[in-house]
Symmetry: C2
């Protein structure tokens, strides 16, 4: 008999993940405060449940996919939460991007009830969630990672056990640092180059052929050139992720000046009501500083 | 009859480029102040010449590959320089990383003598130069780019005409911004993650599977994990390149705070006598700020 999976949180990530779990044949119990989404998923074969506690009562493995550490804490350890319903021997997997201290604290609270816990944040965004190609970075006990593997394999293509409780969240913080700072780097290059008269499409072409190549110039090329930033992963969420990274860095005694600068740039976007845009909108902060939008082709430029 | 090529500057880049030109069958006239290198190349089939002027007198196309804008100016337009020897109708290609203002000024000086000029800086480093796989970004007239194409094809695999005189150098500046800032991003991620107890090799694995993926984590993996930084492209040269980028940005009214921070980080390395290391040594500045070297595997971490 297949493992029964519960999922709490059916947003831009959780919903396609739920669909992939159904497609893989897992009996699925769903929980969300959004009634319309719950009905929609029930029509596709999920069992609706009235609370995180109820979802946990009816599952062997419960996944949480929620927008902040505070919500994760509340949903897992708060009243009516997952740990009130989870049987001894069951497994809770938090796939949200959560502060690693919260991950460790929840793992301890779960252990007191005989419940195992993993932190398993993902990268790959909404597209990766839809296609089941997420990269999943997992912190916790090796036995539990093996137990969770069939579930992970329905959701992602790269599953890496990176260390004990909280380690998954540490690696996610590292990921968000590189992604965020790379956006700023590409923004500075494109604004300088296009203000100096060079076609930004040619800049992306040339840079992609050498040591400067990165996935962001490939995947977000259209956003940079058309200056359109549909989310995607939002500035608001990436700002939250960098806030976690900088807080972990503070506790660890690590100075991260570039990450801090990028977090502040995201705060500028939020101050202008643009937190809901895709995080690639970071390049518009560089544009704004230079009073120059990433431009039209320069006269005389030609590809060969 | 094959085009006669002259090359001035036979350093870590110029020497392997000269060998590739010989291998492609071009009659080659070489000029350098380093007598031993000149003798070595002569033994391989190049004709030695006594000065840049003499190299130009005996060539149809002259390449310069030199360490700074000042040296390029002197060698091209100074006494005993290329323009004194170049016949009307010949072509001078500066493949050094040069300030775009200098490129434009030299193109004007060349034009006064009926000599065409291209700025054609490269990315790909010493390995690209050896393997003939450089990415070449070319500024100048389209006709001259076509004329130079057989020569470029002996040296690189990606040849892109990016705009008028100076545009090649603008794109090279953009390239060095993205490369330099990416080193800092990877450094911040690896120092944070490893100080927080995660195996840095696992961090590189996971990040390479998602949106954070970049060529630098791939090509310089060994440098980061072993903390060994044999040049390669040096900190000194990259610092010079960022100084050009920031000067161009100043003239264009573009603010580049992250590039400026990275240029200052490179200056820290130079202050400590480490300007001769590979530019990937930038990560050691982040290490130094945190008093933590990118570390050994964390206990409990395991790949799956």
């Amino acid at each position: 008999m297949s493992v029964r999976v519960g999922i709490v949180g059916l947003g831009v990530m959780g919903r396609p993940m739920a669909r992939n779990l159904l497609a893989a044949g897992f009996p699925l119990v769903a929980s969300t405060r959004n009634r319309a989404v719950l009905d929609e998923l029930a029509a596709e074969g999920a069992e609706p449940s009235a609370s995180p506690r109820e979802a946990a009562e009816r599952s062997d493995v419960v996944i949480t996919m929620l927008p902040s550490s505070e919500v994760v804490s509340q949903v897992v350890a708060g009243p009516g939460g997952v740990l009130e319903g989870a049987a001894a021997g069951s497994l809770v997997i938090d796939m949200s991007t959560t502060h690693p201290d919260v991950s460790r604290e929840l793992a301890r609270a779960a252990a007191e009830r005989g419940v195992a816990m993993l932190d398993a944040p993902v990268s790959g965004g909404d597209v990766g969630a839809q296609q089941g190609t997420l990269s999943i970075m997992v912190g916790g006990e090796a036995d539990d990672v093996e137990r969770a593997r069939p579930v992970f394999e329905a959701l992602g293509t790269t599953i890496t056990h990176v260390g004990p409780h909280g380690a998954g969240q540490i690696v996610k913080a590292c990921n968000q640092i590189v992604v965020g700072v790379t956006y700023a780097a590409v923004g500075e290059a494109l604004v300088l180059g296009s203000k100096a008269g060079v076609d930004p499409a040619l800049i992306l072409d040339v840079l992609s052929g050498g040591l400067a190549a990165n996935r962001i110039m490939e995947v977000r090329r259209h956003n940079f050139l058309e200056r359109t930033f549909p989310a995607g992963a939002t500035v608001d969420l990436h700002h939250k992720d960098l806030t976690i990274a900088l807080d972990v860095a503070g506790s660890a005694g690590v100075a991260l000046p570039l990450s801090a600068a990028v977090q502040q740039m995201m705060r500028i976007l939020r101050a202008h009501g643009q937190g809901g845009l895709d995080h690639s909108a970071l390049v518009t902060v560089v544009e704004d500083w230079a009073a120059h939008e990433i431009g039209a082709p320069a006269p005389g430029a030609e590809r060969s």
